[in-house]
Amino acid sequence: MRYLPLTPDDRTAMLAKIGAGSVDELFADVPELARLDGPIHDLPAHASEMAVERHMAKLARRNLTAGDGPFFLGCGAYKHHVPATVDHIIQRGEYLTAYTPYQPEIAQGTLQMLFEFQTQVARLFGCDVANASMYDGSTACWEAITMAGRVTKRSRAVLSSGLHPHYVSVANTMAKFTGDTLVTATPELTAEPDTDALIDQIDDETSCVVVQYPDILGRIGDLSKLAEAAHAKKALLIAVVTEPVALGAIKAPGEMGADIVVGEGQSLGVGLQFGGPYVGLFACSQKLVRQMPGRLCGETVDAEGKRGYVLTLSTREQHIRREKATSNICTNSGLCALAFSIHMTLLGEKGLRQLAEINHALACKAADRLTQVPGVELVNGAFFNEFTVKLPAEARPVVRALADKGMLAGVSLGRLYPAEDALAGGLVVAVTETTTEDDIEQLAAALKEVLA
């Protein structure tokens, strides 16, 4: 077998050194009843590289890919162009096949990259500090809610109706077990986000307010008022960013008073991958740093006084604190953080702003063009690269019909909120730099045809 270097002679020599007559003797502790002798039924035997590649390629071909036609899906996962450099570098064995940097003297590559990543995320979000990544946006969001609970010693979290429904679902699952109270609501197809409704919900028991920016419908609202209202009740404001490219165009949540900013970093460097692996971003103010979950990389010096980096503040973490840790997270999303960081370095501030401008410009064009289709109305007042339109019919069958034409038209709100009839006409359309004007034209024409 190509992945196993031991030869039959090696095995014999090694058994002799060990003093065992056979490999079976090494498994002597396994009780008789649990031993599997003979082949495992129903599973195939080994296969060549070529045969495996053929099998997998056949499965891959059964999917309609984002590159196959016009593509407008978003809602927490975005199709952006990832420069070839990113994928080349993350496949270098020194990154790909390294472990969590527990031996910093021979892991400065990973550690320095993480330090740069933390700085990039903190600056993008307008916060003091960021950690070395979480699993994804949805788990980062729940971790932020529990962190707010630790900081405020309260357990009532107010969640915006504009928060991604999967993120709400994750929080609901966890809260059932931790006993936290979550105040949630279903979004309405209004032009503005639910800022005022959220402010009304903040009381003296509230640990945090969680607001997505831009929200699930693509709407953008000023967070300053919300931050003030939360702070007046000594609650924290948590902002959730599922499209970090937006922050090349709009104000950072930290700038508007958010105490914790979490996000999904998939847009930069990572790719769609059917939902994972992605990379959770987590940033906060300096005074909250000791309550943060996850790995943190910090600067220090070595025995000769040279600058170097180590994992630090690990007394918050499970491998030291065990049941008193701030989170159980261990493995996070290191390689995706590297991809994010390389993409961000290639862009730089200038490139990020250009990228954001192009996304916004194309989204404006798409919104204008789609609303020329009879019966289609734009919901949003403001938006970045994603907006919601209301169709004169249920959006879900429309999306399905357009998929048959090889076009992925957007995310129907019926998919995300199947029980909500009032949202059934909603279609969330995402437009990025990968969208062409011809794609927009094709979508408008097809939509017109299907709705007629």
Partner: protein, 523 residues
């Protein structure tokens, strides 16, 4: 002593032929430091070209357009490639040598898996596409599920957990949901002292009180003591099997029976499943839930700290409580059961624990690995992993104390203590000296039950010649530590950095780069 038993030993430069002590750049040939992007980049530089797109007459950003600088430096493409390539050369990796971190299972990462994961049909599909456009992806999940369920002899599998610790949480939440469904409010989870830190942290994260389980003199769970402690307040026990001392728990079935008789559930930490895959099915041992680290047993790359993937297999008793979403095969093809259809089929699910459907990019890699090895090859994987570990154990137990060496063979990892080192020498010194020998050290000071623990997991992808060389290096370093060789305390001498000051890092944390000029101005 022949240090390199694979035959070749490089010539060392002799001490009296040293070159100049300083170079202009501070570099030592291939070993050179790299500045931070914040020190070499500029916010006016970009390495990406965009086409022209006409700006809208006015923006629709609701008056929230960014008006402050962000402070994100950019580099041109060649500078970017060079920056990250130079940094990469300061990393040790499996691709450069044995990575014997006990409990972490650092095995070779086949490149076929990378190619497969990047096929556009897997890499370039959106999680919210209509399900009839992603039938191939759902079939990957379905096939992988079938492998995992069959190999473990369990009833079902939840694919969405993002990593091992997330899988632990998934298992414990299912247990809690099952208990609550029968109106049972048990609040204690028993965890052995030798467990990974994630076990007690997970139990606490899910709202449980954590208590220890005593071990016996042979490094296994003390069955009688466990039975004494079981009772109506114990929700579950979390057992790692093979355990973190590298030993199989021979009483596992009896433990499960006792826990079940007392009304509790058995969670198995499957981090070490690589030792028994194809030879033992946890389902035959009474396990109710177990996570599987695809990034350990099934070779998906660790990536310098993730991403992982931690599917959880369940017994029949826990299956109804498994999380959403999951894939079901129907007459009309593969369906994705989410919140919408869960009520019909899966009303007792404890809910969703992550956005979307799990680590697809890891599923494709793991399935590619399983198909490559096949059921026969996976059994050989376990056997070679155990053989390599026992070879290390017996090749070092005359110089290092193996606390459980007398009780028989180990499984996939060999455990040693620091007993016998000269006064003032520690496991840390051994580890750092191994860095100078060109190796990544073993896991240090874990498990906590052994003084100065050194846990070596070679994995099945190391050759005998490679192991012989590694063993030679460990023996040499240990002999120096026994002889009181003070130079060990300064090790590593030849790494990109000498020992780093972790105390300073924690006392005054510097977690982001700040422009020293601005910092100075502020002070």
């Amino acid at each position: 002593m022949t240090i390199n038993q694979s035959g070749w030993k490089p010539e060392m430069t002799s001490g009296d032929q040293q070159g100049p002590t300083e170079t202009f750049t501070g570099a030592r040939a291939l070993m050179r430091d790299e500045a931070l992007i914040f020190e070499i980049g500029s916010t006016d530089t970009t390495g990406v070209d965009f086409g022209e797109v006409e700006a809208p007459a006015s923006d629709r950003l609701g008056g929230l357009a960014r008006n402050r600088d962000i402070g994100l430096p950019g580099l041109s493409e060649p500078e970017t490639v060079r920056h990250y390539t130079r940094l990469s050369r300061q990393n040790y990796a499996i691709d450069t040598g044995i990575f014997p971190l006990g409990s972490c299972t650092m095995k070779h990462n086949p490149r076929l898996n990378e190619r497969v994961a990047r096929m556009p049909g897997f890499a370039d599909i959106h999680p919210l596409q209509p399900v009839d456009t992603v039938q191939g992806a759902l079939e990957v999940i379905h096939q992988l599920s079938n492998w995992l369920v069959t190999l473990t002899g369990m009833h079902s599998v939840a694919m969405s957990p993002k990593a091992g610790a997330h899988g632990e949480l998934c298992g414990i939440l299912a247990i809690r949901a099952a208990l609550e469904a029968r109106g049972d409010t048990r609040e204690v989870i028993l965890v052995p002292e030798s467990a990974h830190g994630t076990n007690p942290a997970t139990a606490a994260f899910a709202g449980y009180k954590v208590e220890g389980i005593p071990a016996n003199g042979a490094g296994r769970v003390d069955l009688e003591a466990l039975k004494q402690r079981l009772g109506p307040d114990v929700a579950a026990v979390m057992i790692t099997n093979p355990n973190t001392c590298g030993l199989f728990e021979p009483d596992m079935k009896a433990i499960s029976d006792a826990v079940h008789a007392a009304g509790g559930f058995v969670y198995c930490d499957g981090a070490n499943f690589n030792a028994i895959v194809g030879r033992v099915r946890p389902g035959d041992l009474g396990v109710d839930a177990m996570h599987i680290n695809l990034h350990k047993t099934f070779s998906t790359p660790h990536g310098g700290g993730g991403p992982g993937s931690g599917p959880v297999v369940f017994s029949q008793a826990l299956t109804p409580y498994a999380p959403l979403p999951f894939v079901e095969k129907t007459a009309d093809g593969f369906q994705l059961v989410e919140e919408e259809t869960a009520e019909e089929h899966h009303a007792r699910s404890f809910g969703r624990m992550v956005a979307f459907h799990g680590q697809m990019g890891m599923f494709t890699r793991a399935l590619s690995y399983m198909l490559s090895h096949g059921a026969d090859g996976l059994k050989q994987v376990a056997e070679d992993a155990v053989l390599n570990a026992n070879y290390v154990l017996r090749s070092l137990s005359d110089v290092l104390q193996a606390p459980f060496g007398d009780s028989g063979p180990c499984m996939h990892e060999a455990l040693f203590s620091d007993k016998g080192l000269a006064e003032g020498f520690s496991t840390l010194d051994i580890a750092k000296a191994l860095i100078d020998e060109g190796y990544h050290p073993m896991t240090m000071y874990f498990p906590l039950v052994v003084h100065g623990a050194m846990l070596i997991e070679p994995t099945e992808t190391e050759s005998k010649a490679g192991l012989d060389q590694f063993i030679g290096a460990v023996r040499s370093v240990v002999e120096r530590a026994k002889a009181g060789d003070e130079t060990l305390k300064g090790a590593p001498w030849y790494a990109p950095r000498r020992r780093l000051d972790e105390t300073q890092a924690a006392r005054k944390p510097v977690l982001v780069w700040e422009d020293p000029n601005l910092v100075q101005a502020a002070e």
